[in-house]
C-alpha cells in the first residue's frame, strides 16, 4: 500500500527529509512495523527509531501509539515531543 510520511523538527533534520510518498511491503501494517522498515535505510534512521529518543507518531493528524494500524492512503507523521505555547 501507498502512504505519505511527514517528518518535523529535530527528526526532519536528522533524516534530512520533510516528506515522502512510500510504497510499503504488505507486512508493514503498524507504526512499529513502519519504524522497523525505515530503520533499514541506514544508521541515522536506525538511531532515530532505536527507542533512545521519543518519537511521536500521528496518523491523519491524530496522535497515535506504536500499535496503531496504518492503512492505504494514510498520512503518517513522525516528530519529537511538542514544545509550543
Amino acid at each position: 500500500m501507498n502512504i505519505n510520511i511527514l517528518y518535523f523538527a529535530r527528526i526532519k533534520e536528522s533524516v534530512n527529509y520533510s516528506s515522502e510518498n512510500l510504497d510499503l511491503p504488505s507486512d508493514v501494517k503498524t507504526v512499529t512495523a513502519l519504524k522497523n522498515h525505515l530503520s533499514l535505510r541506514g544508521e541515522n534512521w536506525a538511531n532515530l527509531f532505536n527507542g533512545k529518543q521519543v518519537v511521536r507518531a500521528a496518523i491523519n493528524h491524530t496522535l497515535v501509539d506504536d500499535l496503531a494500524a496504518i492503512n492505504a492512503g494514510d498520512e503518517v507523521a513522525f516528530f519529537p515531543p511538542v514544545t509550543g505555547g
Binding site: 518535523f8 493528524h61 507523521a77 516528530f79 511538542v82
Partner: protein
C-alpha cells in the same frame, strides 16, 4: 510571520452574560537555560494544528461552562519580547474561565504540534520538552 488561529466562538466582550475574561499571553524571553536568545523559530504541522486546537477548545467547553474561547499561536521566527501565544476564555463566573484558560495552555504545551528552535550565541538548538509541562497536563486527568 504566519498565524495559527482558532476561535470556537467570538471571545469579544460584547455578550452581556459574560462576567469574566481570563487571558494568557506567552512571550519570548531573552534568556533560556543560561544562554542569551537571539531568535526563536516555531515550526508546526498545519493540518494537525487546526485539529489539535479545535480538540483542546472542545474539551475545555465540555469540562467547564465557558461562553467563548480564542487561541492564537504564532509560527515562524520571533525575537525576545514578541508574543508567541494568546489564549482567552470568557464565562459568566471567574472560576470557570481561570480553569479553562490554564487547561487550554497546559494542553497546548503538550498536545499541539509546535516545535521551538532557539538561536543563541552558541548556535541553534531545538528546545526540549519539559517534564513540568507533562506534570501540568496530568493535573487535569
Amino acid at each position: 510571520m504566519r498565524l495559527a488561529e482558532h476561535a470556537n466562538q467570538d471571545v469579544a466582550n460584547n455578550a452581556s452574560n459574560i462576567g469574566a475574561l481570563v487571558s494568557f499571553v506567552g512571550q519570548v524571553r531573552d534568556m533560556n537555560d543560561g544562554d542569551s536568545i537571539n531568535t526563536l523559530t516555531l515550526e508546526h504541522y498545519p493540518e494537525m494544528t487546526e485539529k489539535a486546537l479545535l480538540g483542546i477548545e472542545s474539551e475545555a467547553k465540555n469540562r467547564w461552562d465557558i461562553i467563548g474561547s480564542l487561541i492564537i499561536h504564532r509560527v515562524g521566527t520571533l525575537k525576545p519580547l514578541d508574543q508567541i501565544v494568546l489564549v482567552a476564555v470568557t464565562s459568566a463566573h471567574r472560576g470557570e474561565a481561570f480553569k479553562a484558560c490554564e487547561f487550554i495552555m497546559d494542553y497546548l504545551k503538550t498536545s499541539a504540534p509546535f516545535w521551538k528552535k532557539e538561536s543563541t550565541n552558541q548556535g541553534e538548538r531545538w528546545v526540549d520538552a519539559k517534564l513540568s509541562d507533562d506534570a501540568a497536563k496530568a493535573r487535569w486527568k
